[in-house]
């Protein structure tokens, strides 16, 4: 009977896949892009390693019109619009624009995190003729050609949150270094689950550049400093709340007592993982650590389910990006400079040649989470 055919096919597929898993044993934690990792020193206060000054490696706008001191119109094209994180960066940008008084900034972008759509948006704004473009890239390489086109037309290009290839933009405002974020995450988890706790990771997709780099750095740092902590597996959950919840629940059910902690790598995955732990009645027994926005995490922090989560202030990030753009247009930030003035944030340092560092990762806890609203 054909049903038997179907069933044997299914069975066969399952066996084949079980066999495929043996090959998975070598286990990278995810699909990163084989870039070198640079784990920080172990232990508390293992501050950022002294960074050797690198030569400027950004691109240059070609013959930009001189608008020093004059009003400029810039556009912000984030990965996608319609999520809280980029609402916050927009808020910061608007704040900076108001303070500066001579900057007009609009946020526009695709409704899904697709690089192809983002390229079209940027291209349209090049045609419209803006003075500057802020971006958070869905893919660092794919976005390069259109950004270079912008530079060749004399449009200034500054990135934030997710970088492009260095020569496709002039500067990149880095919210926090990948290895710093990774250290904060692993340290927070280690604090809760101890030296030989086992944990799993819920991420969006393996090809989201930032997530992939963080996980790679987390692996390097954990292997260096807490070699007995055990990584169980990493699962994908797109950017969907319910899917992340289901995946986290599956992990909890699969590993039972063995699972001591869950990392959420996106602002969607972390609250969903916290919810899964709450629903399973395992608050306090399974730690949840991740990157997340405060509003989504407040219920779990207040209930004690989540002790800490890591992020930076995206409002500050957007704010800094606009100040950097203004400085570039005014000629106050030039290749070779080592710091830039960013309004209420003070002086921000230049690292890695053409990156401007916002600061260390910020750890939210019960004591400070209520102060924020994003």
């Amino acid at each position: 009977m054909r049903a038997r055919l179907l069933l044997s096919a299914m069975f066969g597929a399952l066996l084949a896949s079980a066999a495929m898993t043996a090959a998975n044993a070598a286990a990278r934690w995810d699909g990163a892009d084989d870039l070198p990792t640079n784990p920080l020193a172990c232990g508390a206060g293992g501050a950022a390693a002294p960074v050797a000054a690198k030569p400027y490696n950004g691109g240059r706008a070609i013959n930009p019109p001189d608008k020093a001191g004059k009003e400029i119109t810039i556009v912000d094209v984030p990965k996608l619009i319609g999520i809280g994180y980029f609402n916050a960066t927009t808020k910061g940008q608007q704040e900076a624009a108001k303070e500066l008084g001579n900057v007009k900034v609009t946020t526009d972008g695709p409704t899904e995190a697709k690089i192809d759509e983002q390229i079209k948006f940027i291209d349209n704004y090049i045609t419209r003729g803006v003075d500057g473009i802020l971006f958070a890239a869905n893919d660092p390489v794919a976005i390069a050609p259109v950004l270079k086109k912008a530079l060749s037309k004399g449009i200034h290009v500054v990135g934030y949150d997710a970088d492009a290839e260095p020569d496709a933009r002039e500067w990149f405002v880095n919210q926090t270094e990948f290895n710093g974020f990774a250290k904060a995450m692993i340290d927070s988890m280690h604090k809760e689950i101890g030296d030989d706790g086992a944990f799993a990771i819920v991420t969006s997709t393996f090809t989201t550049p930032n997530q992939a780099r963080w996980i790679a750095e987390m692996q390097a740092y954990a292997e260096k400093c807490y070699p007995k902590m055990k990584w169980l597996e990493t699962v994908e959950a797109q950017e969907d709340n319910n899917l992340s919840f289901n995946q986290a629940t599956t992990l909890i059910n699969k590993y039972g007592d063995k699972l001591k902690g869950i990392f959420g790598m996106t602002s969607v995955a972390t609250p969903a993982a916290a919810e899964a732990v709450t629903k399973a009645g395992l608050c306090g027994k399974v730690a949840v650590v991740g990157g997340a926005t405060p509003n989504a995490m407040k219920p779990y922090v207040h209930s004690g389910c989540v002790k800490s989560f890591v992020l930076w202030n995206p409002i500050d990030l957007g704010y800094a990006a606009v100040y950097v753009m203004r400085a570039v247009v005014d000629g106050k930030l030039k290749p070779g400079d080592t710091s830039v003035d960013a309004g209420r944030l003070g002086k921000l340092n230049v690292i890695n040649g053409s990156q401007i560092l916002l600061g260390p990762a910020f750890v939210f806890t019960k004591d400070n989470v209520d102060k924020f609203d994003f």
């Binding site: 399952l14 896949s17 079980a18 898993t21 619009i81």
Partner: protein, 331 residues
């Protein structure tokens, strides 16, 4: 003559139903066999907690698939349902946060769901624009509209009693109750009530249906309105499960729902299929997703395997029907 036609039609439908019991049985068997096989590899899969989590976490897909099955059986399709569920969840949540009594917030989701879908149904039935065009357009309108209005701001601070999905009746969780009730009631209605059977007639052969006294246009309108109701129910379960509502369009949801309906034996040619099949299929797909994690399939291959299994199920279904049809011919 009409009575004879209806009787023949009825017995033909009876035969069709008998054929279809095959697909439901096939799915039920697949669900059980899969559970046993995976349980053998990793016994934790069979824990009550896990099995119920699979059901709870995916009930909303099965509920939406009930409405979708009706749409497909009537010979149409709807690709806007995912966006609509996102919108309804946001509306319901926003109302609750604004202080509106939760019953009203829940009802709002149902009412708006029916209204939006009925509007589409009217355009499809009376203005005779193909359903794929109308729902494709509506998908864009809903998606863009949702972002324009909410700006993607997540809805937090939901009142405690909003969480419908947390309630339970006699120990059975609400999502499962809604799923079972929706499936059973819809199945019975479609099988035994003239209006329900009219859906099959409309999808199978609208002209013949009209000759039998069925109004295809009104049937399509009714089908879409019902679909909106089930989408509303699904959105309630979807929205009330977690403490935050994402207020965006759940990605790929319509495809999952359509896949559940299709794997459940609903034929896109219209006129064939049952909602019991689509519910079982939704459960099976959810089970496969979980199973692939339990048996340690390399995460890079999970999607491919799920796709392969869906394909195998679909092919097996078609082959099975052809065998039955061939047997029918011989008689």
């Amino acid at each position: 003559m009409t009575a004879a036609a209806i009787t023949t039609a009825a017995s033909a439908r009876g035969a069709a139903f008998r054929r279809l019991i095959g697909q439901e049985a096939l799915l039920a068997v697949a669900i059980i066999v899969l559970a046993i096989v995976v349980g053998f590899i990793n016994p934790r899969f069979l824990a009550t907690r896990n099995l119920s989590d699979i059901l709870l976490g995916n009930a909303y897909i099965a509920i939406a698939a009930v409405g979708m099955s009706m749409v497909i059986i009537s010979g149409n399709i709807d690709i806007s349902v995912g966006a609509l569920i996102g919108v309804l969840a946001t509306v319901s949540g926003s109302l609750a946060v604004a202080g509106v009594p939760v019953i009203v917030a829940w009802l709002a989701a149902l009412v708006i769901g029916v209204a939006v879908m009925a509007a589409q149904g009217a355009v499809i039935a009376y203005l005779r624009i193909p359903s794929i065009v109308v729902t494709l357009g509506m998908l864009s309108i809903l998606k863009g509209g949702l972002i324009s209005v909410t700006g993607g701001r997540w809805i937090t601070d939901l009142p405690q009693n909003f969480h419908l999905a947390d309630l339970s009746v006699f120990g059975a969780p609400m999502p499962v109750i809604i799923m079972v009730l929706a499936t059973v009631l819809a199945a019975l209605w479609m099988r035994h009530s003239p209006r329900g059977r009219a859906i099959y007639a409309t999808g199978g052969n609208p002209e013949a249906a009209r000759l039998c006294g069925v109004n295809p246009r009104r049937t399509v309108l009714m089908v879409f309105a019902l679909h909106g109701f089930f989408a509303g129910l699904a959105s309630l379960v979807y929205a009330t499960q977690l403490r935050v509502i994402q207020s965006n369009t759940p990605q790929g949801l319509e495809l999952t729902i359509i896949t559940a309906a299709v794997v459940g034996g609903v034929s896109i040619l219209g006129g064939v299929g049952t909602v019991v099949g689509s519910t079982l299929a939704a459960i099976l797909i959810a089970e496969i997703t979980s199973a692939l994690v339990f048996i340690n399939v390399s995460p890079y291959w999970t999607d491919a395997l799920r796709g392969a299994l869906i394909l195998a199920t679909v092919i097996a279904d078609i082959l099975r029907r052809q065998r039955r049809a061939a047997q029918g011919w011989k008689r």
